[in-house]
Subunit: 291 residues, 2 copies
């Protein structure tokens, strides 16, 4: 049996299929980005697999029969990849790759292509004729332009400047204050230890006001969308047949992206966790061929 | 005996004076910004006082005779002020205020005035006829424009964009990579859990290249300096007799600040920890007067 895992900074999704490729169970566990804790990542991966087995009406002990493909956030860092890859995992086989790779495999049904992900974070990825390019995927707070977390950070920066009278007026200040139930310096207390997902919850305020024509919000949204267009150009220069956008912000960002990019976008075919499953099958086939 | 304490995100300085106001001991301990841990703050404050006593050749038990003025980062947040103010401290008296207030008291010899601090963080503060104004002091990563941490964050953001080919070329990329001993995505690994002081260590790279005329670095430096000029304007509108700049970046930022602001700047008279001491004396006098 094959299990596909999509592991990110807030949750881990597992999908279990039978030999006919039919989904027989799914599991959902906590975060598994090893950058924020390797042990937590292992725990979440294992739990998501056990929950998928239970969901399929199978005993947890079947975990040792599973051939697992896992795409994790954070393992684009070579050191972290090593650490996770050397895990004494409980599965029959464990094929590790990045969350970007499985998203790309899923989006294009296991074939070559490129993807841009704009959710809590942002990044671009292409895989064309065994050549891989990653654009962005740098993380919060220094990277991930155009993402929800970045947009939320920009919104908070604006609201704080504006509350000091050092920025042009915009309803965005009041909306952020309302969302945080705090004004001025008290917004800082609310967000002092906030994670990137917490920041991303401010992004819809920017998007709504931008769509209503507020210049401050529009400037933030356009700045983000412009970066995503630049990422798309880099990816398209690799010559992928297909380019897809994934993630919560993808549909709404497109209105401010370069129109010549938007017309090049293709629909996503399968989910990232299904992409992880395809990855495990490809890797096993490769192993069998080599042997 | 009076003890003045200046407590920040990286260290806590204590200064001990005798009745003739002569410095008889100093102490240096770890961080005491309660935003990053209230217990740590209490430990550092106590230790800095004990070290100052030891430095003066006095037993640590004299701690209970000390009249202490303390200015701490973070207590501009009302909730945190409450928590620290309710501390069962080991001193005879403990007068708490913000790091901004003691910097201002120190800079102007205990009198009214305004200060701008641009070190690891940035902020403006004025105290004129019992009216206080705080501008900025929002913290990293969403505030503190013009500070060392902000400048370092901008440098890293640039270096990451540039390593993806999505920013104009500048020697700043190579300088950041060299400083971090990492390129591209590996820079992320180096800075993933970095504190604001770690970011601030990148600021000199920006300042050096800006002074050498590099357009990318110059744009960052000017953006920061322009914000600091705006903060100064807000403070000057309160009518302070004196405005001073403090902090590691203060001398070098001035070359890009508005000249009409720079000519208004006055030299600092005393250190913030001395300002804390003046605060304790003022508060005690007030108490005696009231009683």
């Amino acid at each position: 049996m094959y299990l596909g895992i999509d592991g990110g900074g807030s949750k881990t999704k597992a999908i279990l299929v039978n030999e006919a490729n039919e989904v027989i169970g799914t599991g959902l566990a906590g975060p598994s980005n090893p950058l924020h804790g390797v042990e937590q990542a292992f725990t979440s991966i294992r739990l998501s697999a056990e929950l998928a087995l239970e969901d399929a009406g199978l005993p947890r002990s079947h975990i040792r029969n599973l051939i697992v493909g896992a795409g994790l956030a954070g393992v684009n860092l070579p050191d972290l990849y090593q650490v996770v890859d050397q895990w004494e995992h409980p599965f029959a086989d464990f094929f590790l790759t990045t969350d970007l790779h499985i998203a790309c495999l899923g989006a294009h049904g296991g074939g070559d292509g490129a993807v841009i992900i704009t959710g809590t974070g942002s990044c671009g990825y292409s895989n064309v004729k065994n050549r891989t390019l990653i654009v962005g995927a740098h993380g919060f707070p220094f990277g991930d332009k155009g993402s929800g977390a970045w947009m939320g950070l920009e919104a908070l920066k604006y609201a704080l400047l504006s509350s000091d009278g050092l920025a042009p007026q915009s309803p965005l200040q009041a909306r952020v204050e309302q969302h945080l139930d705090a004004k001025g310096i008290d917004m800082v207390g609310r967000m002092a230890t906030a994670t990137s997902s917490r920041y991303a919850r401010l992004a819809p305020l920017v998007l709504e006001l931008a769509e209503a024509g507020d210049p401050v919000s529009l400037a933030i949204a356009k700045d983000g969308a412009n970066y995503i267009s630049q990422v798309a150009e880099k990816l398209l220069a690799q010559g992928p047949e297909r380019l897809s956008m994934l993630g919560g912000l993808a549909p709404r960002l497109q209105q401010w992206m370069a129109p010549e990019i938007v017309v090049r976008l293709s629909e996503v075919q399968f989910s990232p966790e299904f992409g992880a499953l395809l990855y495990a099958k490809q890797q096993l086939k490769q192993l069998v061929k080599t042997a």
